[in-house]
Symmetry: C2
Subunit: 356 residues, 2 copies
């Protein structure tokens, strides 16, 4: 995927308008967003009229092939030495850096004796609203994840181990074209499903189990993230059906509320109140959703913790859940794209309770 030149131009405009000499980018996903570089080590130094990208020997050829619009330089020793040299060369006396950088890195750049202007989520905020090309990648990541799930779904039945489902799904995701999976796949059945972030175990799926499957795909560095919960048939499952319906109602209501201008805390409150009204308030302890793109979890968070106004172009998950110790749990997770007055559902797999 090509990187629009407008991204780095926006940063250059910003520093020029603030009379700052440079912007230092060390977060690897921000680097990818600005330069197109997909390796794991490097940094970018942007001034009003220069764009430099630094990486080491291991990524020399890759940087040459991937990075455009930046001059590529090689880091040969300590990063701070390379930086010092170029700061001098470019006469940088004031410098923005990302607050997500480590305290240790900050201590080092402090020694450069330039005016430092820490920036909180400057590039992350640019990344919050996705452009057409990014949305295409995310949609592809969703399609790959859904296709993989559909292919392995017939295997999900009583007797199979959680770990085996996870492995089959991972292999299928790769066969669909995902370079990597965005996170360790969760397959949690029976009482394991009461742990929101469970890991697949040797446990076999049994009658009456809820089976939570939480997985994601990838395309061109962009991720998808979705969850479905199945129920294995048994005699007395009416209480479980009630739990499922409560989660699904919360999901529906939260998604219906999504539009430009709404506050993230309000979306969370709608999901949370629906579950509370159904009598399960104490069993929904995590946030309702999270932004997704080059990271699986990125701004905006959809929870009670932070208030943020929803804008067109944002992509995030809606994933209410109910987790009851010993009994199990349900989570249903969709991805939405904000489009002015409403949410476009990016995920398409059915959310109706499937009793297998």
């Amino acid at each position: 995927m090509g990187v629009p030149e407008s991204r780095v131009a926006f940063i250059q405009q910003f520093i020029k308008s603030k009379k700052i000499n440079g912007f230092l980018v060390t977060n690897i996903k921000n680097i990818r967003y600005l330069t197109g570089f997909t390796g794991s080590s490097g940094f970018a130094l942007i001034t009003g009229n220069k764009r430099l990208f630094f990486t080491d020997f291991r990524y020399k050829e890759q940087a040459g092939a991937e990075v455009s619009g930046f001059e590529v330089e090689l880091e040969k020793g300590k990063r701070i030495c390379t930086l010092r040299k170029f700061m001098k060369k470019l006469a940088i006396r004031s410098l923005c850096f990302e607050k997500s950088a480590s305290y240790e890195f900050y201590e080092n750049i402090e020694k450069l004796h330039v005016r430092l202007i820490p920036q909180k989520d400057f590039i992350e905020n640019m990344r919050k609203t996705k452009d057409t090309e990014e949305i295409e990648c995310i949609k592809k990541a969703v399609q790959r994840a859904e296709r993989a799930f559909i292919k392995i779904k017939p295997k999900i039945q009583a007797g199979i181990k959680e770990k085996e489902i996870a492995l089959r799904l991972e292999v299928q995701l790769k066969k669909e074209g995902c370079t990597r999976v965005p996170f360790d796949i969760i397959v949690a059945s029976g009482k394991n499903a009461s742990i929101p972030h469970a890991r697949p175990t040797e446990k076999r799926i049994r009658k009456g189990d809820f089976v939570i499957i939480d997985w994601g795909g990838e395309a061109d560095g962009y991720y998808s993230d979705m969850t479905r919960t199945l129920l294995v048939k048994d005699r007395a499952i009416s209480k479980k059906i009630k739990i499922y319906e409560a989660v699904n109602k919360a999901r529906k209501k939260a998604i219906a509320s999504v539009k430009e201008g709404i506050n993230t805390q309000d979306i969370d409150r709608i999901a949370r109140n629906t579950i509370k009204s159904a009598g399960y308030g104490e069993f929904f302890g995590h946030g309702t959703g999270h932004g997704i793109g080059l990271n699986v979890h990125e701004p905006p968070g959809i929870s009670w913790v932070k208030s943020e106004v929803v804008c067109s172009g944002m992509v995030f998950t809606i994933e209410p859940g109910i987790y009851i110790p010993e009994l199990g749990g349900v989570r249903i997770e969709d991805m939405v794209l904000v489009k002015n007055t409403k949410a476009e559902l990016l995920t398409s797999l059915s959310r109706e309770l499937e009793i297998i």
Copy 2:
């Protein structure tokens, strides 16, 4: 794996001796090392006589099952609010924190108006020398990786795609018991092998190709990391054999030099000079090795950048390489455990050139 109580006791002794009230741990691998918690979010607050571990709702059950020796508390909102509350409760007026924490986190804890004492690699330095139980885990991670490689090796032959080898190896690693693979497997053939950190492509293995395979295993959170390079038979391969022998000689000499008291830069120099003498100096641009344990890359680094004295109990890789644009490359990577006067090789797969 149980966590020895001595680890946190060491930290408590340190803060007591320095008359500091507390030590704040946010690095997730350091948390695992001290508490046994294997989830992805939490922090620890250690005082002279209190050990608190904080995580959120998603990990409540898991923390209960995994963490011992710490009181477990739930984080419900912003981390800084939870921290403020407990700092007050425990009357903490001076606090160590890790320099690897983000600048943003530092800014937040600065507002707590306590004396902050940043610590560089305090716990990472403890982690550098492995105890018996950790070494057992690493050995298991090596065995799993080697078994997986042996099983898929017959598939490595002319005609197969790089991506297919990588996927088969990954699946086999999981079947051998690895919860996850420590890093994206590298399979680089032909001219792709001239990129030290290449990613597997759709390219098929061809006659005369070097095939670099760099992969690792996992056991109980500890990792292994190894590389082998095979050569596909062809008519004129004498130049390639020469390159392979140069790398292998550098590997042998570097490993033979490893003992307690040697400097990491000296090990690197031995590998580098061997390759230089063979006439390939400009084609070996990365470091000779790196420490490995709960992270794939951790201190000590074995390179020209930083000088460090080698101690008994350290585990690191030795992985010289030669990468020649258009022609391809060779890397051979072993893992060693430092044992007083010598290195114990942890990897056992043959390093002699195999022409397939």
